[in-house]
């Protein structure tokens, strides 16, 4: 019996395999590093430029008039939260609802139209969305408001959330739905309590992506939320937002404002990452053993 390992060429084959295997692994690791590098670089640069201006005053005070140093962005931090609350209240239910329709009922022409419209809406420049919210909300109300800013961002969230919800629901195996129908559970209940629940992890990820994306938007807020140098908690009044404040300060001629703009950008990114992480942690708690 010939020894298979002693055959001619077998060592060079296994050597070649080892080399390509190593090569592929190194390639994968390098690309992964290249992907996260820009994010890390941006974050590091923001910390480097902004951390010096983040202090108690920055987090608790409103802006000082031009020329005076000090002051902070507390009103903008709260304003961003307020606008995002309105945006989520509009964008998430509409987006999830549309996604449910597309996945469970929309296998027809009308569904295709909605799908196409959502994809187009996703590609509309954010400033155009701002103009739409301006003419739909600001003009009839006759003044800028936190609400109109929330409407603009909410509209931007809808297509992302809808398409993510649809994709995730389509990944739920049909046998799971059949199991529910077989128990005498009506279709609407099956959709909400079985299919959506099975898809919830992916749907939440889609919602967080949409949220994170609009949280940093500036253009749609320029003529909706407008900005404000003072405190405002009313939905129908012009409101400061971190992104707007960073924009205003960054194009100003004052050195102190430039520093504060860096600090504002840092706070914005920390808040977004914090919010996404908080949702992730709170939804992964209470997970069952053996859920994939």
């Amino acid at each position: 019996m010939p020894d298979p390992s002693a055959q001619t060429g077998s060592t060079s084959v296994s050597l070649w395999r080892r080399v390509t295997n190593q090569g592929a692994t190194i390639f994968a690791v390098v690309t992964a590093i290249v992907v996260i590098l820009p994010l890390l670089a941006i974050f590091a640069y923001l910390v480097f430029k902004g951390i010096g201006s983040v202090n108690i005053a920055f987090l608790t005070q409103t802006p000082k008039p031009p020329g005076e140093t000090g002051g902070g962005m507390a009103n903008a931090i709260v304003g961003t939260g307020l606008i995002l609350l309105v945006a989520s209240a509009i964008g998430l239910p509409l987006g999830i609802g549309a996604g449910i329709y597309l996945a469970e009922y929309g296998r027809n022409r009308f569904g295709d139209v909605i799908r196409f419209t959502a994809d187009v809406l996703n590609g509309v420049p954010s400033i155009v969305i701002g103009i739409a919210a301006y003419s739909l909300v600001v003009v009839p109300q006759k003044h800028f408001s936190a609400f109109s800013g929330g409407v603009a961002l909410g509209i931007m969230m809808i297509p992302t959330v809808a398409r993510a919800t649809e994709e995730m629901l389509l990944m739920v195996p049909n046998v799971v739905r059949e199991a529910a129908y077989g128990l005498g559970i009506p279709k609407w209940r099956t959709t909400l309590s079985i299919s959506l629940r099975t898809a919830s992890a992916g749907v939440i990820t889609g919602c967080m992506l949409a949220f994170a994306r609009v949280a940093g938007e500036t253009a749609p807020l320029l003529f909706t939320a407008f900005g404000n140098q003072f405190w405002n908690l009313k939905l129908n009044q012009p409101t400061a937002a971190l992104s707007l404040q960073v924009f205003t300060y960054a194009i100003s001629p004052y050195d102190d404002w430039h520093k504060q703009a860096w600090a504002g950008a840092l706070i914005l990114i920390v808040l977004i990452v914090g919010a996404v992480a908080a949702v992730r942690i709170s939804t992964s708690r209470g997970k069952l053993k053996g859920v994939g």
């Binding site: 296998r107 199991a179 128990l183 005498g184």
Partner: protein
């Protein structure tokens, strides 16, 4: 207690394709009835017509008389949701709800049909898991373990428990053991034997030995028609039809 099933002139279509041709069949209450036949003969379609699952497939529909006890399944004013609640179904591939615990899986049908009483729910879940011979294996982490984390055989018994929890009168099983190993299969077969005390069981199987082991009555389907329906013993020892004989002796299918 189980109830009998009366089928008269049942036709079923997929689109324009007639796949069940005028089926007449009487299923005895509290007995196990097996449905056998080669792939594509319509045996699965037949049981899926009994609880109106057939019509959940796009463009599929069925017509004819199906009476389950006193319930006219295809009568005007018959609600498919109510039909399916009273006729339980176990599928070929175990399909527990993946994000729910063992308890949640068994309780799902009760909860989503509106039962709120916690104590009653606990009792029904325990009773169903015991009936499905799964209780001893899962009782320690009913709430902690996901239904999907069980083994294949356990998952199938979980699915049986889930069907039993809503207290159906009839249990339909569509090749319930075809995805399982021999030990799990024999557990399911023992279970079927126990279940007929409380339920009428109709089981689809492509395994003739299985039909011979578990069923008192057997129906042989071929190309959408019910060729022969009789006592299992008779079908396997002295079939009346030549085609039945060819099939059970392994000459085709």
């Amino acid at each position: 207690m189980g109830v009998g099933i009366e089928v008269r002139g049942l036709n079923a279509w997929y689109g324009k394709n007639l796949s069940l041709k005028s089926i007449d069949m009487t299923v005895q209450a509290n007995h196990v009835t097996a449905v056998i036949g080669p792939s594509g003969c319509g045996k699965s379609t037949f049981v899926r017509c009994l609880n109106r699952m057939h019509e959940t497939i796009p463009e599929a529909h069925a017509e004819g008389l199906v009476k389950v006890g006193e319930m006219d399944v295809y009568g005007s004013g018959s609600d498919p949701v109510e039909v399916r609640r009273r006729i339980g179904m176990v599928f070929q591939k175990p399909n527990p709800f993946p994000t729910m615990s063992v308890y949640g899986n068994v309780a799902a049908g009760l909860k989503l049909n509106g039962l709120r009483n916690r104590k009653q729910m606990d009792e029904l879940v325990e009773r169903s898991l015991k009936l499905a011979a799964l209780w001893d294996e899962v009782k320690d982490d009913l709430h902690k373990k996901s239904g999907a984390s069980l083994s294949g055989g356990q998952q199938q018994r979980l699915c049986i428990a889930r069907s039993l929890a809503v207290e159906p009168e009839v249990l339909l099983m569509d090749e319930p053991a075809s995805a399982l190993d021999p030990i799990s299969t024999s557990k399911i077969e023992e279970l079927i034997f126990q279940l007929k005390q409380h339920y009428t069981v109709v089981i689809v199987t492509h395994n003739m030995q299985q039909a011979a082991r578990v069923a008192e009555f057997t129906g042989f389907f071929l190309m959408g028609s019910l060729i022969e329906y009789d006592k299992t013993e008779k079908i396997f020892t002295a079939p009346a039809d030549k085609r039945t004989e060819d099939y059970i002796t392994g000459r085709f299918g």
